[in-house]
Amino acid sequence: MGEIKKKILLADDDPDQIFQVSHHLKKWGYDVVAVESREEAERYLESECPDMAILDLMMEEEDSGFILAYRIKQCRPQVPVIIATAVTAERGISFDINSSENRAWIKADHYLEKGFRMEELEIIIKSLLK
C-alpha cells in the first residue's frame, strides 16, 4: 500500500507562479489544491484541511496572505504556513520573520522572497512536514 499523499494549499494570484509551483509539488509527491484568491482559499478551508499552505501575500488585498495565515493558524495551529511574496522589494520595507515579535503577528512558519529556487522550497517543505 502506498502512503497517503500530503495535501498542500497553494494560493497565488499569479497564474505562472501557480503553474510552476504546482508542477514541482506534484513531482515531489504532494497533492495540490491551487486557488487564485483569498476568497477561494477561505471557501476551501471551510470544509477541508490541508497539511500545509503556501500563500502569496498580495492578492485581493495587500495583506491577503496574512489574513489567510491567521485564519489557518486560528483553528489549525499545527498546519505549517509559508508566505511567499515580493513585498520587500515592493514597499521598500523588509520585515524579518526571525524576530519573535513579527513571528507572533504574522503567524507563518516560513517566509520566502519570490524568485526563490524550487530546490529551496523543497527543503523547507520537507523540514516543516517532518
Binding site: 494570484d13 499569479d14 497564474p15 505562472d16 507562479q17 503553474f19 510552476q20 508542477h23 514541482h24 513531482k27 487564485e36 484568491s37 476568497e39 498580495m58 492578492m59 485581493e60 515580493a86 522589494a89 515592493e90 514597499r91 521598500g92 519570490k114 524568485g115 524550487m118
Partner: protein, 373 residues
C-alpha cells in the same frame, strides 16, 4: 506667527539692546509665505559666549560683529562653517573693512549690516535674511519629498519588473531540466505564458518611456494643430483587434474639423490609454463609446464603457502610479498601473483635468477636459 530665533553678538551692550528692541516689534511677511515671521532675540557679548549658546540651542539667524574682545567674528564664522551648521549669518561690520566683507562672504555670511545702522537699515537686512531662510527651508523640504517619491517609484518599479522575470526564469528552468518531457509540444503552454509575460514587460517599458517623456520639460517645437478625429481613428485602429477578439463594439463620434493645439504624441497617449482600458476592463460582448467634442472653451475626450466599473474607494486611488485595481473581476488583466497616472499628468500639463464616473458592474466614463489656449 512663527518666531525665528536670533542671536546678536556684539561687545557693545547698547547695540545688543538696540537690535533686540528693534526686532522684538518687527514682523516679516511676503506674499508667498503662508505666515508672518517674528523674532526671538538672545544676546552674546563675545564669540566664545555665542558659540556656547549655539551649542546649547541652535538659532536660525546669527547677527555677528567682527571686532570682539576674544575670538573675532570671522573666527566664529569659520568654526560654524567647519561644523556645517545650518545658520544664516549676517556680519555687523563697519564700512572700512572691505577685506573682512570679502572673506566673510567666502565663509558663508549671507549679508552685511554696516555699522552704524538705522532701525530701518537693520529691518531691511533682517527682511532679506528671513526671505533667504524661508526659501532655503522650502528647497530642503522639496528635495526631501522628491527623494521619497523617487524611492517609492523605483522600489515599486523593480517589483513590477521582477515578477515577470521570476515567471520567465521559472519557465526556462523547467525547459532546461525537461520538466515536462522531451517533446517540444509539451511546452506549448509554457512558451505561450512566457511570451505573454514578455509582452507585459514590454508594455510596462513603453509606459515608462511615456512617463519619463512627460516628466521632462515641454518641448514647444512639438506643438502643432492636431486634428483630433485623425488621432482618434489611429487609436481605434490600434485597439480594434483586441475588441474584435472579445466581441466588443466601439462607436466614435467626433466633430469633423476639431483641431487642438498640442503635441500629437500626448494626444495619442491619452486616447490609447482610455480606449485600451475601456476594452480591457469591459465584459465580453460589451460596448465602448468614444466622443470628442468642443464644449465652451474646452476640448473634451469622453470614453464610456460597459465594463466592470469601480467603487468609490477604487476610484480614489485610480490615478496614483502603479495602482492596479485588484479583485476577482480584474484578475488576468495585464497592465503596468501607469496608464491613467500618465493621462492624468498630461491633462494637467495642458491645464486640464480628468473626471471619472463609475459604478460597480455598470461601467465607467472617463472625461478628459483640455482648455483651448
Amino acid at each position: 506667527m512663527e518666531k525665528l530665533s536670533v542671536i546678536v553678538v556684539d561687545d557693545e551692550p547698547g547695540i545688543r539692546s538696540g537690535v533686540k528692541r528693534i526686532l522684538s516689534g518687527h514682523t516679516v511677511s511676503f506674499p508667498f509665505m503662508d505666515d508672518d515671521y517674528g523674532f526671538d532675540c538672545r544676546e552674546a557679548s563675545t564669540g566664545e559666549e555665542a558659540l556656547e549658546m549655539i551649542e546649547a540651542d541652535l538659532p536660525d539667524i546669527l547677527l555677528l560683529d567682527n571686532k570682539l574682545p576674544g575670538i573675532t567674528g570671522m573666527e566664529v564664522l569659520e568654526i560654524l562653517q567647519q561644523r556645517n551648521l545650518d545658520i544664516i549669518v549676517a556680519m555687523i561690520t563697519s564700512y572700512a573693512s572691505l577685506e573682512v566683507a570679502a572673506k566673510a562672504t567666502d565663509d558663508g555670511a549671507r549679508d552685511f549690516i554696516p555699522k552704524p545702522f538705522t532701525p530701518a537699515e537693520l529691518k531691511a537686512s533682517v527682511d532679506l535674511i528671513t526671505k533667504q531662510y524661508f526659501l532655503k527651508r522650502i528647497t530642503r523640504t522639496m528635495k526631501e519629498e522628491g527623494k521619497k517619491i523617487r524611492y517609492q517609484f523605483l522600489s515599486v518599479l523593480s517589483h513590477e519588473l521582477k515578477s515577470p522575470l521570476n515567471a520567465l526564469e521559472g519557465y526556462l528552468e523547467m525547459m532546461k531540466s525537461r520538466e515536462l518531457g522531451e517533446s517540444m509540444q509539451e511546452y506549448d503552454q509554457v512558451l505561450d505564458r512566457s511570451l505573454h509575460r514578455v509582452e507585459g514587460m514590454r508594455s510596462l517599458i513603453m509606459d515608462l518611456l511615456d512617463f519619463t517623456k512627460i516628466r521632462l520639460e515641454r518641448r514647444d517645437d512639438k506643438i502643432e494643430q492636431v486634428n483630433m478625429k485623425e488621432r482618434a481613428h489611429l487609436a481605434l485602429a490600434t485597439i480594434n483587434p483586441l475588441a474584435i477578439q472579445r466581441n466588443i463594439s466601439i462607436s466614435f463620434k467626433g466633430e469633423e474639423d476639431l483641431v487642438f493645439e498640442a503635441d500629437p504624441g500626448d494626444m495619442d497617449i491619452i486616447l490609447n490609454n482610455l480606449l485600451s482600458n475601456a476594452v480591457k476592463y469591459n465584459r465580453d460582448g460589451g460596448s465602448v463609446e468614444m466622443r470628442i467634442l468642443k464644449q465652451a472653451e474646452n476640448v473634451e475626450i469622453v470614453v464610456k464603457d460597459t465594463g466592470i466599473g469601480m467603487n468609490e474607494e477604487e476610484v480614489s486611488r485610480l490615478f496614483n502610479e502603479f495602482v492596479r485595481i485588484k479583485n476577482r473581476l480584474t484578475r488576468g488583466i495585464t497592465g503596468s498601473g501607469l496608464g491613467l497616472s500618465i493621462v492624468h499628468k498630461i491633462s494637467e500639463l495642458y491645464g486640464g483635468h480628468i473626471q471619472v464616473d463609475s459604478k460597480p458592474d455598470m461601467g465607467s466614463e472617463f472625461r478628459v477636459i483640455l482648455p483651448v489656449q
